[in-house]
């Protein structure tokens, strides 16, 4: 799917949506985890955040998702030229992270149906995504293997067709079919003018990475 055209000629198909963050700092007690990180992402672009374990990749993504309040710095996110505050941003982003868990007592379909209601999305969307990632709908979420759970995280993150994807080690635990399915979904997301911030310990063999931040000390 990677288009061969150079970056310059690329004009975003949708009005300007953009994520810009500057000087994001966060510390836990005495330990300063993020010391002024800046970056941005535009439609169709991927911002790759690399760095060793414990360098603050996950903390940065949680701040961008609005799950963690930064001590200092600014995070501005606009969709179709409309700036969103943290509460709105929190509910608009698609988030994939290892610590994301679902209701083990419910089946995969029931989990997605529940979140579809919260996301005000038609339940059929959930079922369609389940097919795309190849997940049995009636399996209890508690009995899923780690690879299956990762697929469910992707299905959940894409439920409400988010413009911005925040992916923390998005391809962990995947087998070949699983990875190719989600890479397809990601490519479609970018082609539709979506943005993505990806955190990964090492650089990823990505078709196109537009900007990069290395949090390594």
């Amino acid at each position: 799917m990677a288009d061969g055209a150079g970056r310059q000629g690329y004009s975003p198909p949708v009005p300007t949506s953009r994520l810009v963050f500057q000087g994001v700092r966060r510390r836990f007690g005495r330990l300063s985890v993020l010391e002024g990180v800046s970056g941005e992402a535009a439609p169709g672009q991927v911002l790759l955040v690399t760095g060793p374990n414990g360098s603050g990749k996950s903390t940065l993504l949680r701040c961008l998702a609005g799950l963690l309040a930064p001590d200092a710095g600014s995070i501005e996110y606009r969709e179709d030229d409309r700036p969103l505050d943290t509460a709105e941003r929190r509910r608009r982003v698609g988030f994939v992270a290892p610590d994301l868990a679902f209701y083990g007592e419910l089946t995969v379909r029931e989990n997605l149906a529940f979140f579809a209601r919260l996301r005000r999305v038609e339940p059929a969307r959930g079922l369609a995504l389940l097919d795309r990632v190849g997940l049995p709908a009636e399996r209890m979420a508690g009995t899923l293997s780690s690879g299956m759970r990762q697929r469910l995280r992707w299905a959940w993150a894409l439920l409400h067709r988010p413009r911005l994807l925040l992916l923390d080690e998005p391809f962990q635990n995947f087998d070949a079919p699983g990875e190719s399915a989600v890479r397809g979904l990601l490519a479609e997301h970018l082609a539709d003018g979506g943005m993505a911030v990806v955190a990964n310990p090492s650089s990823l063999d990505f078709d196109h990475v537009d900007t990069r931040i290395d949090l390594g000390r």
């Binding site: 836990f28 007690g29 309040a69 001590d71």
Partner: protein
């Protein structure tokens, strides 16, 4: 300038102490000189309420600004509120001993203060159980604000219920007894003195807390 104000406060409270014993007469219904403790017991209770109300204000400001200084201020206000609350309870018990012969007779005011101390003691327990500074500030602020919604019920409900439990009329220590004007002068002067003392102690407590955070005072 601050020094001048400080020494003014020293003079003010010294005058209150002297006034409490020489200027104010003992109204009827009071037994013995030691019931003059009233001039200190009541202002301490006021200072305690002042602390809890101030904490709610700082908590609301913290939730808006997320400025750690407001969180520290709210915590310090509650700690002082508890200190004055305990002092008020002790002096109240001493006074009850003098007036009604028993340290604790479930006088409505005693019960209400005691339960509010339980509540704000729980506030400190909550602060102790959360490590992350941001989460601790947020959750403590919410609980302190909940306190200002809930504790007034105590002072409204308990007197009505406790009265119904005590068939014989209970002399309500503060309000009901007509106080001679001179007594009121001393009482309100003492109240003001304790309020000023509260804010001074609060300022010192906040600065200590700020230094302990290894950050310059706000």
């Amino acid at each position: 300038m601050k020094n001048l104000l400080a020494w003014l406060l020293w003079l003010w409270i010294s005058a209150v102490i002297v006034g409490a014993f020489y200027y104010a007469p003992l109204a009827m219904g009071f037994l013995g000189e030691s019931s003059r403790i009233l001039f200190f017991h009541v202002p301490m209770a006021w200072a305690s309420f002042l602390g809890f109300i101030a904490a709610a204000v700082w908590s609301i400001r913290y939730l808006r600004s997320r400025n750690p200084a407001h969180d520290r201020a709210a915590a310090a206000a509650i700690e002082l509120g508890l200190l004055f609350g305990v002092l008020a309870t002790v002096t109240g018990a001493v006074w009850a001993r003098i007036m009604w012969g028993a340290y604790w007779n479930w006088d409505p005011r005693q019960t209400s203060i005691l339960i509010s101390l339980l509540f704000y003691g729980a506030y400190l327990a909550l602060r102790g159980a959360i490590d992350d500074q941001d989460t601790r500030g947020r959750l403590s602020a919410a609980y302190a604000i909940l306190g200002i919604v809930v504790t007034p019920f105590l002072f409204w409900i308990v007197p009505r219920i406790t009265y119904s439990l005590h068939p014989e009329p209970v002399i309500n220590a503060e309000g009901k007894i007509e106080m001679e004007s001179r007594m009121q002068h001393v009482l309100y002067a003492s109240g003001l003195g304790f309020a000023a003392l509260f804010f001074w102690m609060h300022d010192l407590a906040c600065r200590v807390a700020a230094l302990r955070e290894r950050k310059p005072a706000p």
